[in-house]
Each structure stands twice: as C-alpha cells, then as structure tokens.
C-alpha cells in the first residue's frame, strides 16, 4: 500500500527522523499560535480588569447554551480526531477516513452555530463600529471588539482546519497512510487539538462573566 521509499524525502536519513522533524515543526508552529492568540488574551485581560461591569453587561448578551453546545461539539471533534490518528497508527484505512470526516462534520456544526450567533449579534446591533448600539456602559463595545476579534480569528483557524482535515481524510481513504507513515495525520491532529484548546479558554472568558 504505502511505499516507504516513496514517502521518504531526500534530505532525511530515515522515516523516523522525518517523522520527528514534522512533529517538532508543527509544535514550533503551534507555539507561534499560542503567542498570536496570547496577544488577544492579553488585551482582553487588560480591559476586563479595567472595566469589569462593562464586560459583565456585555457578556450577558452572549448565548450560554449555544456556547456550551459548541464547546461540547469541539471536544467531541477532538475525540474523533485523536481516534483518527490512532486509526492511522494502526493501519485502519476506513476507520481513519471515517473518523476524520466525523471531525470535519463536527467542525462544520461548530461553524454553523457560530454563524447563527454572529447573525444574532448583527441584528441586535452589537457589532462594533458605526452601527453599534448598546444599552449600557460605553466600554462594553471593547468587549464586543475582542469577542469578534477572538472568535473570528478562532473561526478562521477552524475553517483552515476543516479544509486540512478534509484533504487528509481524502488521502487516508486512498490508502496513503500506514503504521510506518502517518505523520501528516498526527500533525493535522495537533493543529486541530490546538484550535480546540483556544476555544476551551474562549468559552469561559467570553460567555461566563458575571453570570450570578
């Protein structure tokens, strides 16, 4: 099925070195993403400390139910992704492809719910900018700026992830991966889990402020 001579790139000595390099490379990339989102979290934190009331008032306009459902959806997609990597690792072609497509499906559900939320915000005039209108402290607009910047950036990463996983699922279906060579699946999995982790922090930070 997969020819290990064919997949070994010319500058590596063996598949083990290639695999380790790929994984390390993805981890290095994920660290850049930690700092990228980190900048957003830092700005968010600054204004939350400064304007707790405005943040709480704004946060109440977010739909906890949809947010919680989305959290569960993403966690489930991480499960299917992890199982897909395991499938590739154990040479189960069909299971791997199926699990990867399940991951895609769950990702699309997440994005769909997000789209619904965004359209609600649009109609409620809660999108920052000239059309913003909020019955509360003026600093609440800062909350919404970060809400859209952070969830928007996250959604962009989800979209990229969905595309990547679809591509990998196609290759998996075609039998490209095996216990000797599955690093693309693993590396895609790392990316996907990272995007899940960002949401794990976004959900409480955005949706659960001052709810008591």
């Amino acid at each position: 099925m997969s020819d290990s001579e064919h997949v070994l790139q010319h500058h590596f000595d063996d598949l083990k070195q290639q695999h380790e390099a790929s994984t390390l490379g993805m981890w290095a990339f994920l660290i850049t993403e930690v700092l990228f989102f980190g900048g957003l979290f830092a700005g968010y934190a600054q204004y939350r400390i400064r304007y707790p009331g405005a943040y709480a008032a704004a946060s109440h306009h977010l739909d906890i139910t949809l947010g919680a459902i989305n959290t569960a959806v993403l966690i489930a997609s991480s499960l299917t992704m992890a199982l897909a990597v395991r499938g590739a690792q154990t040479g189960r072609r069909k299971a791997t492809a199926g699990l990867l497509m399940s991951t895609v499906a769950l990702g699309l559900v997440f994005l769909g719910i997000k789209a619904v939320e965004y359209s609600h915000k649009f109609h409620e005039h809660l999108v920052p900018g000239p059309s913003f209108s909020f019955d509360g402290p003026r600093e609440s607009q800062l909350f919404f700026s970060f809400y859209f910047a952070m969830t928007g950036m996250h959604a962009l990463h989800m979209i990229i992830g969905v595309v990547l996983v679809t591509i990998i699922a196609w290759f998996a279906w075609r039998g490209r991966y095996s216990p000797e060579y599955f690093s693309p699946v693993e590396v895609t999995g790392l990316y996907w889990h990272f995007v899940d982790i960002v949401w794990i922090f976004l959900f409480p930070m955005l949706y659960l402020i001052g709810r008591h």
């Binding site: 994984t23 660290i31 569960a72 499960l79 395991r86 959900f203 930070m205």
Partner: protein, 100 residues
C-alpha cells in the same frame, strides 16, 4: 511522538472528563464566589487544556524536547501577561499631579 498506541478507553475517558469539566464550569459560573469565579474558571480551563495536551496530543508519551517546546510557549505567553498586567495594575499607585 510515541510508537506507543494508546487504548481507545483512554481517549473516551478523557472525553468524558472534558465534558464533565465543561458542565462544572458552566454551573460554577452561576454561583457567586466573588473574585474566585475567575480563578475557578481559569483553573478548570487549564485542567481541560492540560488533558488535551497530555493525552489527545500525546505529550505525556513524547520526548522531553516536545515538553520543553510546550512549556516554553506558555511561559512566553505568561511573560507578556505578567508585564502587561503589572503595568496596568500599578498605574494608579503613584499619584501624579494632573492625572485623574
């Protein structure tokens, strides 16, 4: 990474734990713990993230180098947060004539 194949039960177990912790986060949000609300929320999120990192991302079974990379990423984020918030929180400490 591991040549090590984890049994499916571990993945299902972590999944269940993550769902439970999510439920806990939501429920605790409706209790009034004052300043502790934020602390609890962040702590639970960190635990969830740690579970994903250790098991779904296999860091528990990975080389020390991977571990160092992960730790470095979060440490550098902490540098940003610490110094930034340090500035924000200490701005009002020294009264300056003319500043509100």
């Amino acid at each position: 990474m591991s040549e090590h194949v984890l049994p499916k039960s571990i993945y299902y177990g972590i999944f269940a734990a993550l769902l439970v912790l999510t439920a806990v986060t939501v429920l605790v949000a409706f209790l009034d713990l004052g300043p502790l609300n934020v602390v609890v929320a962040i702590t639970i999120a960190v635990i969830k993230a740690t579970l994903v990192i250790l098991y779904f991302m296999h860091v528990r079974y990975s080389s020390r180098l991977t571990w160092v990379f992960v730790a470095a990423g979060f440490f550098w984020f902490l540098i940003l947060i610490a110094f930034l918030l340090g500035d924000i929180l200490s701005r009002g400490w020294l009264p300056v004539r003319g500043w509100a």
